[in-house]
Symmetry: C2
Subunit: 413 residues, 2 copies
């Protein structure tokens, strides 16, 4: 059996990730205070504890009349209970007081009858057509959350509903983690910055601006380190500079399974442990390398756009979630779908298949997007999710149900 | 049969939405030009057309050697083909030239053999262990996208991969739609702004800041119109001011099914058509009203936090997607899950059930989140999706498969 060069050194994806994340020496991120209206999508740094009961008092859950439930005993639409309307602060026997959703329950009342189950008489009385139990249609003090309970846990990404809850509890500021700074460096003599005139066979770099956008989408800040030539010293110099300002460095290009390893070499010049894994049993993204310098993560991605996307997906997302202070790696939305065409994969490699999921009459179908080489960035704009084929599978058959990790909207047919 | 007050006037949800959106007189939003790195999540205003082929030349899809495929006829690992390495610009018969992913294919070559299927001899020759067909491992000029093809359609929300594609095609600016301005007004004597000291039975307003966050999450700008007292004139005055600056107005509170209709009354004072639908067969969010003033949408939401969320979900999202210039209302990620407990709903009402979806061994389960009154905002922070029960169903049984519209991460167990 011929020994295939490069391949014998591939590390299993999960093992590479665990080794790498374990070696990052970043502690918890710094904490900063932001106004509540600026907290959207930030990560809560300290448990948000309810400073008081919510609601702060018993209140009506509906529009209607506050009553004593006992006064409605036996009431039906054929034999209504008759109550006297009052405007007093307190209601007494056989009285009712108009009340709107959210209003405090007046003294003496223990239930609220809905407007639509009543009829107002000209005499200043109301007919009530249904019985109630004490507490019916009343939101009890502390029913939503009690004083000293944790409203939202530290490590949570703040969504609009967390903001509403914080506001309802009277918090107009929140403690959140500082956003991590991610420095991004493209490498390659063949690359021109978009907006410049490319020379000869140069191509426009698209990886750096794409990775900036992905990092920003996750809630990180980015630092543009430009494009380095294919020169170990230049690359090393730029990474060294990046490490001064950034919490992590991501590079593209200058790494392969075969031997063109300018970036791993540059990283290894800069310190220990340097490159921890180079060559991952992952398709497409085998040339990915992961490193640690000065305790900070350095992610070395392929220059191939789709391989860079997958390498980031597998290594970059968990790394950034950790630096954000999230309690766990944020999952992509997952849907189950029927695979519309068989896909191939190699035993021993974790394989990411790009698919387009469509929904028709509630049935979800995942159509693999043909990739002519993993360089075709259009396969990322025409697909909306990944199917992950594990190492112990050799492809997936047509008609099998798969889990798709969605990165764009599902298409309705 | 007793006629229930208020209920007889409820409009079906879809009909209310269609009527309302149809009456909005906003044309296409204004167009503005942004730098590519600022285009994330904006909406493309003009089709992005490829100005050139991508790739611009035939290039290698792998690391290896460019060859003439015919020279490898019959090659196996037991009977390798032997090729002479060259550094020339052009390769001739029985020659090979080292090439890295993305490099242009040299003249004379028509395929690339992967590094791992070769062995370099000290003599300056390589052994090749496999046959190739012409075109193998070559990314052909224009294979990703051809000149003059539409790369991304107008009306698309720009994600990081659209940015990458635009960059690869040499675009460093994009034409996008101007962000709409949404004015948000809370109403109610009982409300205090978060950050102030509440008086007596006042509660903190949480709806306004929540709706600001939801609108911002969708990509709109927001204008904070503060809190209006329960006074038709004050409410009308604030809405009038809001209409001068904003593309749409959203209010909370001051609307009911029963008769406490300060906001609808205020809107109707301001012009035609005013309120188009008031009272929707939707739970929870029946008191929602939709209006049009000066051709602009006015969305009148309940003061009840969860009813406000659902009213926004049903009416606000489509309205904002339209104002953003999106080609369609952006769907929430949808998953299929097994309902873990039966839920009740009333015939004739579209009902939104909050559920928490968990995934265990690839099986998705949706557990309804108990709501003690729709005022409990914690039900929005502990759930992660909605199940929509249509008007023609009376509840859903335990064990039925449902589609869940996700607004937060799925929980893995």
């Amino acid at each position: 059996m011929v020994k295939l060069k490069g391949f014998q050194k591939l590390t299993l994806t999960d093992q590479a990730l665990t080794t790498w994340l374990g070696a990052i020496q970043a502690g918890k991120p710094m904490v900063e205070t932001v106004a509540l209206q600026d907290a959207l999508h930030r990560v809560l740094a300290v448990d948000l504890v309810a400073g008081e009961d919510l609601p702060r008092f018993d209140k009506s859950a509906v529009d209607g009349y506050s009553v004593k439930a006992a006064d409605l005993s036996g009431a039906t639409q054929f034999k209504p209970a008759i109550l006297q309307l009052t405007d007093n602060q307190e209601i007494t026997e056989k009285q009712a007081k108009q009340i709107w959703t959210g209003n405090p329950i007046p003294k003496g009342a223990d239930a609220v009858v809905m407007l639509e189950n009543t009829k107002k008489r000209e005499s200043g009385e109301i007919e009530v057509w249904s019985q109630l139990a004490p507490g019916d249609n009343v939101s009890k003090k502390g029913e939503d959350i009690k004083k000293d309970e944790v409203a939202t846990k530290a490590g949570t990404r703040i969504n609009p509903y967390h903001i509403a809850l914080a506001a309802a509890l009277g918090n107009n500021i929140l403690k959140v983690y500082r956003k991590p700074n991610i420095a991004i460096l493209a490498t390659g003599n063949e690359l021109a910055e978009v907006g410049t005139k490319p020379l000869g066979n140069q191509i426009f770099d698209s990886n750096k601006i794409m990775l900036q956008a992905i990092c920003q989408e996750l809630g990180a800040e980015t630092i543009d380190m430009g494009i380095a030539k294919d020169d170990t010293d230049e690359i090393a110099e730029k990474i060294k500079t990046a490490l001064k300002a950034a919490d992590a460095v991501i590079t593209t290009g200058g790494t392969s399974v075969g031997g063109y390893d300018l970036v791993p070499d540059a990283v290894n010049q800069l310190g220990k442990p340097g490159v921890m894994v180079h060559g991952v049993a992952l398709r497409p993204a085998m040339p990915t390398a992961v490193a640690v310098l000065e305790g900070k993560p350095v992610l070395i991605l392929s220059g191939n756009p789709v391989a860079a996307v997958i390498g980031f997906e597998v290594f970059g997302r968990p790394m950034i979630c950790k630096l954000l202070g999230l309690s766990k790696t944020e999952p992509r939305p997952a849907v189950k779908a029927v695979l519309a065409r068989k896909v191939a994969s190699a035993l021993g490699r974790k394989t990411y298949i790009r698919v387009k999921v469509t929904s028709k009459n509630g049935e979800f179908t995942a159509l693999p997007v043909s990739a002519k080489g993993s360089g075709a960035i259009t396969t990322m704009t025409t697909s909306n999710g990944f199917v992950i084929v594990p190492e112990n599978r050799e492809g997936i058959s047509e008609g099998e149900t798969v889990i798709v990790h969605m990165f764009a909207d599902l298409e309705e047919e």
